[in-house]
Structures are given as structure tokens and as C-alpha cells.
């Protein structure tokens, strides 16, 4: 099976090749574009799964990961290479990314049917898939950063896919700029690491940290800068503002990029560079607290939004917060296990609401409800996803969230634990609120309830498969921890599991009482909570805060510089230039005169040089 390892580079390469082919010939392929993309991603997915066994055997036998690479650029004596490194962490990510990418692309065949830029959509999806796979096999920081930005580019292109809509164009720009703020942090960390160690290799950095060659403050700084990058990509507070707006993109994009894979790259990055974080207690605290705060705040915002796609986006922020929390309290296994189950059940939730959007053509809860009568299969898959998200046993989310909560409890930080458990309650409430309101109650849809049907088969099949995953992936915790070699899934006895389950059930019950019992409704909840509900609904005014505190001052500064550059610096130059002329014979004449003078001087100078050279040469 070593032959398989030798072609592991094909996993990222094939989707990238599909992108190249689609860019060149996509418009001629028409509907075939989708199948080309699916074929290449499919082969990559099969390879990624087949690699698991030989690569982990290699990892155990050789005590180091399989590596392959080629020299990309020489910088003095440093060789920068690109290639493939098959660590346990990377081996876990490869099937997650490729399989979900495959399923989402199949779904998109139905979802994007009839779109004017259908081939282009699949070209971008291929570019994303290839870049994300190349990111997770990176042997060094440079390759990681290259594809880190490439997936960001794909996110930009796909959020703005319907570019005629100003909202989509603005959301795409916002996503790119906000994540770039984080990216600059990661970039500076890479520069500092290179300055200190002269290398971009992960192993070199981790070795330098573990052998204590680097000062404690320096390590903390690097860890925090890396985390800034991770927080931007994984939409953690306070850089989370781009992700809800990113829902302007087509729903398959939201499922693949903005739920299952790219936004999880931040979590992956922290897991990948974990030894750097582990060497700094302060950095670990920051990771844990930012994670817990993001989990809690996003869940509260999700309670009050009426755009149901955005609710799920806030849910993603919240769940990514859980993963960061797991890492921050020291368990890579817990964080990565939750990343795995979340990728499956959140993709499922997006695809299910995507089916609703596809049929009902709205994302507003107030405009559509009672779909159970028309979309039973969609409803069932949605509720499987909702059970997994709320953490009801034996669905996937229960096992992985339990791991994180257990890790928090065993660390004994009660502040974090309270936020973690409260979020369980909120999570159950907001997702079942969506479920109850969409599928039950009055039967209506904006273009007529009678026109709504189940989505086409091409969309239903991936939803069904993901639903199976949302039930099943929770049982693979042991395999994941063995693959990662980072310790077992944390356990803290029955207490944590029972408390979490009870809280989730309470949340579901509260949603049931609020939305399905007559006489009580959202208006009552809003009255009960008063200004708190308004704060949830207005997302704590964070966007407005950025607008007033960052965007407008920056634009004002830019306008000021534009003015000042013309008025002060340029005027100074112009008056210095004009002074001799003004003294002479009036500005206008002098100016034309001056140019001729300068040219005359220049020409004479050249002529003189030639004359001198002729004379000099003859000597």
C-alpha cells in the first residue's frame, strides 16, 4: 500500500486540476462542468479514505509522518518546499473535507440548476476543495498560509457569486477584509518564527519551543498572533461579524465553506500548532475564554434572528467556540472530535434549510411555516441534524460536546463550565425554534404553499447520507483519538452527560411551549426579556460599533489624506517650482519657458557628453 502514499499528493491536486480545466473549458461543458468537478473530487475523496490505513500504519511504524515535497523557492541557504505531510491530524481532515465537498457538490447539481454561471460555480467549488485539501496536508507554515488565503479567496468569490446583488458584493468584501485582519496576525507570527528560527517548517518551530530556545513572552506572542488568524477564519468573537453576512452566498457554499470546512480551519490551526499554545498558560486561557464567549454570545444572538439561515450561521460561530474551548482547556481530541461531528451535522442542517430556501424562495421565518405537510423527508433530516446539534444521545453531537464539557469540568474552571452548559440550553432552544416554526404551524410560503414540494433527488441523497452520519459519527471518538494520538476523548462521569442532556431537553421543551402551544409565543418571550431580547436581536450592536469605531474613522482618514496630499504637499512642491518663475516674468509664460529650459539643458548635457567622449576617445 506504500504506492498509495506516493500518490497522496493527488488528493489536493485533482480538484485543483479540475479547477484549471473548468476555467479553460467550463463554458463549453455546460451541465457537464458539475460532473467533471464531482468526478475529480470523488476520486480525491476515495483516495483520502483509502490513505487512512496505510498512512497511519506508516505513522506508527516509522514514528514520524509520511512526507513528500519538492523545492519551491530557494532563499539564500533556506529551501522552501511544498508538499504533503500525513500526520494523524491531517489524515482526519482529509476525508472530512473531501467527502463533504463531494456530497455538497452533488447537492449543488440540483440547487444551482439553471444558474447562468453554473460552470463557474463548480470551478470555484473545485478550487476551494483543492485549496482546503492542500491546506490540511501542509508540511510548513508557508504552504499553510498560501492555501489559507486561497480558501479565503474562494469564500470571497462564492459569497459574492451572485455579484449583481449589492448585498452579496458587500458581504464578500467584508468577509475578506475581516478575515484578513486575522490573517495578518498569522502572517506576523510566521515572520517572527522565521526571524527566530530561520525556518518555516512546523517541526523546527515546535522543536524550538519545546527545547525552550525561545523566551516565554515570545512564545505567548506567537501563540496569540496565530490565534488571531484562527479567530478570524473561525469567526470567533470579536472577528465573527463576517460569517452571518456570508450567508448571502448560495446555500451549498454556506454548508461546505461556512460550516463544515473552511471556518474549521482556525480550529485545525490551533490543534496543529498546539505545542506552541501548550507552552503558554496565558495563550491557553485566551483560547478557552474566547471560545466560551463566542459559544455563548453567538447562541444568544441566534435566539432572536428571523433569518433562519443566519441563525444557523450564528450556531456555527457558537459551535466553533466550543471547539476552541475544548482546545483551550487542553484537549485536542475533544476539539477535533467535535470538529468532525459538527462538520457532518451542520452541513446537514444547511442542506436541509437549503432545500427549504430552494422550494420556498425565502430565508425569513415570518414568511414560511407549516412545511411538514409538503417536505416530510427534509423535515426529518433537519430534525436529525437538530438532535445532533442539541446533543441528545445517541446522536453525534452528544458525544463530542460531552467530551468538551468533560474536559472543561475536569479542569475545574467554573466560569468556563457555566458558559459551556448554558450554551447547551440556548442551542437546543434556537435550533428547535427554527424547526418548529418552519415545519409546523400555519401552512404558508411566499409564492403559495401549494407550489412547495420536496427538493429534487440530487439534493435529497446527500441529505440522507449526512443524516446517517449525524447519527453515526459520534461512535468514532475512539478511532479519532487513536488516529490523533492525543489522548482519549475526555470523560467526567455520568454527571456531565446527564446535566447536558437535561439542559438540552429543557431547551427543546421551552421551544415547544413557546412555538407550538397556543397562547404563548415569541412576542411573550420578547416582552419577558425586554431590553435583553433587543440586544440579542440587534446582535449587541457590534456591527454598528465597528462601523462607527473603525470603518468611518478610517474612511474619514483616507478622505483627509487625499485632501492633504493635494493641498499641502503638492502645493508646497508647486510653489517651490513656481517661485523662480514668478520672480521673473509672470507665471504662465515662465512655465512654458521653464520646460524648454530644462529640456535644453538636458539635451545640451547629452550633446556635451558625446562631444567630450569623442574628444576624450581620440586622445
Amino acid at each position: 500500500m506504500d504506492g498509495l502514499l506516493a500518490v497522496s499528493w493527488l488528493v489536493p491536486f485533482l480538484p485543483l486540476l479540475a479547477f484549471a480545466l473548468l476555467t479553460l473549458f467550463g463554458s463549453r461543458l455546460g451541465q457537464g462542468a458539475a460532473w467533471l468537478s464531482i468526478l475529480f473530487t470523488g476520486v480525491a475523496a476515495v483516495l483520502a479514505v483509502l490513505l487512512l490505513s496505510p498512512a497511519s500504519t506508516y505513522l506508527q511504524d516509522q514514528q514520524h509522518p509520511y512526507q513528500w515535497g519538492f523545492s519551491w523557492l530557494q532563499i539564500g541557504s533556506v529551501t522552501v518546499s511544498l508538499g504533503v505531510s500525513l500526520t494523524g491530524l491531517n489524515l482526519l481532515m482529509l476525508p472530512i473535507v473531501s467527502v463533504i465537498a463531494l456530497l455538497v457538490q452533488v447537492y449543488a447539481v440540483g440547487y444551482m440548476h439553471g444558474d447562468a454561471r453554473y460552470p463557474r460555480f463548480f470551478a470555484y467549488m473545485s478550487l476551494f476543495t483543492g485549496s482546503m485539501l492542500a491546506l490540511v496536508v501542509s508540511p510548513n507554515f508557508l504552504q499553510l498560509y498560501i492555501f489559507w488565503e486561497m480558501v479565503g479567496l474562494c469564500s470571497y468569490l462564492l459569497i459574492g457569486f451572485w455579484y449583481q446583488r449589492s448585498q452579496a458584493a458587500k458581504a464578500a468584501k467584508k468577509a475578506f477584509i475581516v478575515t484578513r485582519i486575522g490573517d495578518v496576525g498569522l502572517l506576523v507570527a510566521i515572520f517572527l518564527i522565521f526571524a527566530a528560527t530561520g525556518s518555516f517548517e512546523f517541526s523546527a518551530v515546535i522543536q524550538a519551543v519545546q527545547s525552550r530556545q525561545l523566551g516565554g513572552g515570545f512564545v505567548t506572542a506567537i501563540a496569540l498572533l496565530i490565534f488571531l488568524g484562527a479567530a478570524g477564519k473561525s469567526a470567533q468573537f470579536p472577528l465573527h461579524v463576517w460569517l452571518p453576512d456570508a450567508m448571502e452566498g448560495p446555500t451549498p457554499v454556506s454548508a461546505l465553506i461556512h460550516a463544515a470546512t473552511m471556518v474549521a480551519a482556525g480550529v485545525y490551526l490551533v490543534a496543529l500548532t498546539f505545542p506552541i499554545f501548550a507552552a503558554s498558560a496565558a495563550a491557553m486561557q485566551v483560547v478557552a475564554w474566547i471560545g466560551a464567549i463566542s459559544a455563548f454570545l453567538a447562541a444568544t444572538i441566534a435566539l432572536a434572528q428571523t433569518d433562519f439561515k443566519r441563525v444557523i450561521a450564528y450556531s456555527t460561530i457558537s459551535q466553533l467556540g466550543y471547539m476552541m474551548l475544548g482546545l483551550g482547556v487542553g484537549s485536542i481530541t475533544a476539539g477535533m472530535f467535535h470538529l468532525t461531528t459538527h462538520a457532518v451535522f451542520k452541513a446537514l442542517l444547511f442542506l436541509a434549510v437549503g432545500a427549504v430556501i430552494h422550494e420556498a424562495d425565502t430565508q425569513e421565518l415570518d414568511e414560511v411555516s407549516g412545511l411538514w405537510g409538503k417536505m416530510k423527508i427534509t423535515a426529518i433530516t433537519f430534525f436529525i441534524g437538530a438532535l445532533a446539534l442539541s446533543g441528545i444521545p445517541p446522536f453525534a453531537g452528544f458525544w463530542s460536546k460531552d467530551g468538551i464539557l468533560a474536559a472543561v469540568v475536569s479542569q475545574g474552571n467554573w466560569g468556563l463550565a457555566v458558559l459551556g452548559f448554558l450554551t447547551v440550553l440556548l442551542t437546543a432552544f434556537y435550533i428547535w425554534r427554527i424547526g418548529f416554526r418552519l415545519f409546523f404551524g400555519e401552512q404558508r410560503a411566499p409564492h403559495g404553499y401549494e407550489k412547495v414540494h420536496e427538493a429534487p433527488l440530487m439534493m435529497m441523497v446527500p441529505m440522507g447520507l449526512l443524516a446517517l452520519g449525524a447519527i453515526g459519527t459520534g461512535f468514532f471518538g475512539g478511532n479519532i483519538s487513536r488516529l490523533l494520538g492525543s489522548g482519549a476523548v475526555p470523560e467526567a462521569g455520568w454527571g456531565v452527560a446527564i446535566l447536558a442532556t437535561v439542559l438540552a431537553l429543557v431547551g427543546i421543551g421551552a421551544a415547544f411551549l413557546t412555538y407550538l402551544r397556543p397562547g404563548f409565543g415569541e412576542a411573550a418571550v420578547a416582552r419577558l426579556l425586554g431590553p435583553v431580547w433587543i440586544a440579542f436581536k440587534r446582535k449587541y450592536w457590534i456591527d454598528e460599533g465597528y462601523q462607527a469605531g473603525v470603518v468611518r474613522p478610517t474612511l474619514a482618514l483616507a478622505a483627509g489624506v487625499r485632501q492633504a496630499d493635494g493641498n499641502i504637499i503638492d502645493t508646497a512642491v508647486e510653489s517651490v517650482g513656481a517661485a523662480p518663475g514668478a520672480i521673473g516674468e509672470g507665471v504662465a509664460r515662465a512655465q512654458t519657458g521653464r520646460a524648454q529650459t530644462y529640456l535644453a539643458v538636458g539635451t545640451i548635457a547629452v550633446v556635451l557628453l558625446v562631444i567630450v567622449s569623442v574628444i576624450g576617445g581620440s586622445r
Partner: protein, 500 residues
């Protein structure tokens, strides 16, 4: 015959021979220019083919006595630093001639002046004598006066005068410092007066300890000042927005893409190797001006409404990155600086061509009057987007690997670390103004005014110049060794001279 002389001589031949032809047909002059610039490009490619990638010292060296009295030689040669710039210039001039369509009258004059300018630029990058370098420096300036003053738009005469005056003063400073340098080397080194750069480098190296530090610093700063005007670097930039706004698009492309590199090349190839101690002393100042240019240019770009002015300030910001890379005075930073010369030299002309084509279609360069062009011109907007992404440093374009190395070098230089922390904010601003520019041009609905206009996608002749540049931007981004391989030995040699 020395291939370098062929490459430099072909455009000159075109200019001189063309002067005797009648000026009637417009098409003739387009193909005349394309023909001679393509021939020069072929010669430059042959130079690259014959170039020994493993060698760091000057190759294809030719040195004839020119003014023996003052030790002036007619010397040419090429190394791994000048080779990419020679190729770059040849490519950008071909692109400029291919996009001839903007010039509606006096095509003969236009083509001939542009050929003279090409000769000056190609010559500058292969000159190995200070005086010859200076002659080429001036040969570039004179045509640019006519090209802006006659063929520009708006207040073109005023702009051309300002440009010539400003850079003319810089030239004077440069000539004086070259002469002083030659005399200094002769006096303290004890040898004959010479302006041959390799000989001067040796003489200055040997005499370094004896030359007063103040004199070295003064000479270095004088040269750096003159060179920074050309790039331009804050606060010596105020000619640039006017010129880039008023020059005809192909001329703006050539000036911003290649002429601006004369300054950076001069610092890297002349000022730093000849006065290494002063360079290292003053490196913080270069770094400071670099960082100010990065941020000032980027913030000013964010405030512009005119597409060409936006590119002008963006260009200045990228020159700041280049200067910061030079200021690091270490391998990775200098390599980044050379990459940035090539990268920016490909990106900014490409952007000017695209912006010119936008202007032809929308009859406006004002961002507030544009929008939605992707619907009508998807190919043009696709190229615009890729070039824009390259300008904001997206990986797998030349812009990334250039800026990455320049900053990696700056962070490695202890005197620049704090400045570098401030400078990286430029990455955020560049993303902001570029994506804003793309959004306001390509995305959203078409404004009503453009809805009625019949806007077509690009024709083949319009397409070729930006397309070639964009392909090169991606090629260098994906295979940076294209630039890096010939560069490594020459940079090694340069750094050995710096004692690093």
C-alpha cells in the same frame, strides 16, 4: 556582437530609422513599435537563455574606454538582479505598443519617443558604468516629457513640466553624487579615476575605513534621495499622481511599471554596494520612509475616487514595500525587493491597461459612476480581479511571494522590527482599497447611464496586453523559482560585499 547591445540597440535603431519614414499611416507605427520591441524582447530572451544561472558575477561583460581622461567606460553586463528587469522592461514595452489604440494623432512621434525611452530603460539595466547609467537615466526622461506633454490629457503640459522639473532636479543631485563618488574613490583608494561600477565597488571596499563616515553617509543619502524621487517614495511623490492621471494609458503603464524601478534598482545595484557601511547606517531611515509610503499610499488610495489616482497611490504603497525589503539588507529581504520590482512591474501596467479599457467603455474613471461591468465585460473584469488580487498580495500571484519575502526580511532585521509591525497593517488597507475598487467597478447593478451604453467585452487586440501580464503574474506566483534561480548567486555576491 554582444547580445546586450543588440537588445538595447534595436529600439534605438527603430527610432532612428523610423525618423526617415513618412508619418502617414497610423497602423504602420503600431506595428513598427510592436516589431522593434518584440525584436528587443527576443534578444532579451536570448540573453536569458545564454545566462549562466549558477554564476553570481557580471556576465556578457563588454567594457570599452569612452572618456579615458575621467575613467569613463562604455560598459555593459548583466547579472541575476538585472536579468529579470531587462526581461520585464522588454515585455512591458511590447504590451505598451500592442495597446496602441489610445493614440489618435501624431502616431509617428509617439512611437519614436516610446522606442527611445525603451532604449534608455534597457540600457540602464545593463549599464555597468556610472556615467553610462546616468546617460540612460536621462534618455528615459526626455521622451517621457513629450509623451506626457503632447499625448496626455487634462492639464498635461503643466503635469509634464512638473514631472521634468522634479525629476530633473533629482538627476542633477544624482550626477553630482556620482562624480563626487568617483573622486572620493580615487582619492582615498589611491587608484585612477574610474566610473566603472565593479572597479569602483572594489576601490570603495578597499578604502572604506579611510573615507570619513560623514562623507559616505552624505553620498549615500544624496543618491538615495535622487533614486527615491523616481520610485516615488513619500514625501517625494507629488509628481506621480498627476503624471499617472494625465499620461496616456500605455505611457502611464510604462512609467509606473518600469521607470519607477530605475530608482529602486539604482539603490540596490549602485548606492548599497558602493556605500555598504552608510547603507547599513541609514537603513532605518529607508525602512521608515518605506513604511510611511506603504501606509500613506494605501490610505490615500482608499480615499480616491478616480481609478487612475487610486492606482498611483497604490503604486507608491507597493514601492514602500520594495524599499522596506532593501532596507533589511539581508538575503530574504533583498530577494523580496527584486521580486517586488518584477511583480509590481507586471501588475501595475496590467492594471493601467485594464483601467484604460474601462475608461474607453464607461467614458469615466470615476468610481462613483461605475459598477456592474462584470455583466457586460466578464473577461476584462476577470483580468481586473486577478491583477487586483495580485496587488493585495494574494498567494500564487507574484504579489504575495514578493511582499512576503520583503516583510520576512524586514522582520529579520533587528533595526526594522518595530517598523515592520506597523508596516504589515498595509496588508489590511490594500485589501480594503482593492476590493472596494473591484466592487465599485465590477459588481452590483449596472448604473442607468451604462445600461444604455453598448458596452462590449474586450477585443483580441485589447485583450492581449493585460492577458500576457496576468499570465506572467500567475506564473511567477506559482513558480517563483523563475525569478529566484538566477537571482540567488548574484544576491549572494552582493551580500558578501556587505559583509553579511
Amino acid at each position: 556582437m554582444n547580445l546586450l547591445l543588440v537588445a538595447v540597440g534595436l529600439p534605438l535603431l527603430g527610432a532612428v530609422a523610423g525618423a526617415f519614414l513618412p508619418s502617414r499611416s497610423a497602423a504602420l507605427w503600431r506595428w513598427w513599435g510592436v516589431g522593434f520591441s518584440l525584436a528587443a524582447l527576443v534578444a532579451a530572451v536570448l540573453v536569458a537563455v545564454q545566462f549562466d544561472m549558477g554564476q553570481g558575477s557580471l556576465q556578457m561583460r563588454l567594457s570599452l574606454p569612452w572618456v579615458p581622461l575621467f575613467g569613463v567606460t562604455f560598459g555593459v553586463g548583466i547579472n541575476g538582479i538585472s536579468l529579470p528587469l531587462l526581461l520585464l522592461s522588454a515585455v512591458v514595452f511590447c504590451a505598451a505598443f500592442a495597446s496602441f489604440g489610445w493614440i489618435e494623432e501624431r502616431q509617428k512621434e509617439y512611437a519614436l519617443w516610446l522606442l527611445v525611452m525603451e532604449c534608455g530603460l534597457l540600457g540602464l539595466f545593463v549599464a555597468t558604468d556610472l556615467i553610462l547609467f546616468f546617460v540612460f537615466f536621462e534618455v528615459v526622461l526626455i521622451p517621457s516629457y513629450f509623451l506626457v506633454g503632447i499625448f496626455g490629457r487634462g492639464n498635461r503640459e503643466h503635469t509634464a513640466i512638473k514631472f521634468v522639473t522634479y525629476t530633473g532636479v533629482a538627476s542633477a543631485v544624482l550626477l553630482i553624487s556620482f562624480v563626487l563618488l568617483a573622486f572620493t574613490a580615487a582619492r582615498y583608494g589611491g587608484g585612477n579615476l574610474t566610473t566603472d561600477i565593479p572597479a569602483l565597488t572594489q576601490a570603495m571596499g578597499a578604502a572604506e575605513a579611510r573615507i570619513p563616515a560623514g562623507l559616505q553617509t552624505a553620498l549615500f543619502l544624496a543618491m538615495a534621495l535622487a533614486f527615491m524621487v523616481k520610485m516615488p517614495i513619500f514625501p517625494l511623490h507629488s509628481w506621480a499622481p498627476d503624471v499617472y492621471r494625465d499620461a496616456p494609458i500605455p505611457v502611464a503603464a510604462v512609467l509606473s511599471g518600469v521607470m519607477s524601478k530605475m530608482g529602486a534598482y539604482g539603490i540596490l545595484r549602485i548606492a548599497v554596494p558602493l556605500l555598504p557601511a552608510a547603507a547599513s547606517q541609514a537603513s532605518w531611515l529607508l525602512g521608515l520612509l518605506g513604511v510611511i509610503s506603504i501606509l500613506y499610499g494605501a490610505i490615500a488610495a482608499l480615499g480616491q475616487k478616480d481609478l487612475r489616482l487610486l492606482l498611483a497611490y497604490s503604486s507608491m504603497s507597493h514601492m514602500g514595500v520594495l524599499l522596506l525589503g532593501i532596507a533589511s539588507l539581508n538575503t530574504v529581504g533583498l530577494q523580496g525587493a527584486v521580486f517586488q520590482m518584477v511583480s509590481h512591474g507586471l501588475i501595475i501596467p496590467g492594471l493601467f491597461f485594464v483601467v484604460g479599457l474601462i475608461g474607453l467603455r464607461a467614458q469615466s474613471y470615476d468610481l462613483q459612476e461605475l459598477g456592474g461591468l462584470w455583466q457586460r465585460s466578464p473577461r476584462l473584469m476577470g483580468v481586473f480581479l486577478v491583477l487586483g488580487l495580485a496587488a493585495l498580495g494574494l498567494p500564487l500571484t507574484s504579489g504575495f511571494i514578493a511582499e512576503f519575502q520583503a516583510f520576512a526580511g524586514a522582520f529579520r532585521a533587528s533595526q526594522l522590527q518595530v517598523l515592520s509591525f506597523i508596516g504589515v497593517l498595509g496588508f489590511i488597507f490594500s485589501a480594503s482599497y482593492i476590493l472596494w475598487m473591484v466592487e465599485r467597478t465590477a459588481y452590483g447593478p449596472l448604473p442607468p447611464r451604462l445600461e444604455q451604453a453598448s458596452i462590449r467585452d474586450v477585443t483580441a487586440m485589447e485583450w492581449v496586453s493585460p492577458l500576457v501580464l496576468v499570465l506572467l503574474v500567475v506564473a511567477v506566483g506559482v513558480f517563483p523559482a523563475l525569478v529566484g534561480t538566477p537571482l540567488t548567486p548574484s544576491l549572494g555576491e552582493l551580500l558578501r560585499g556587505l559583509g553579511g
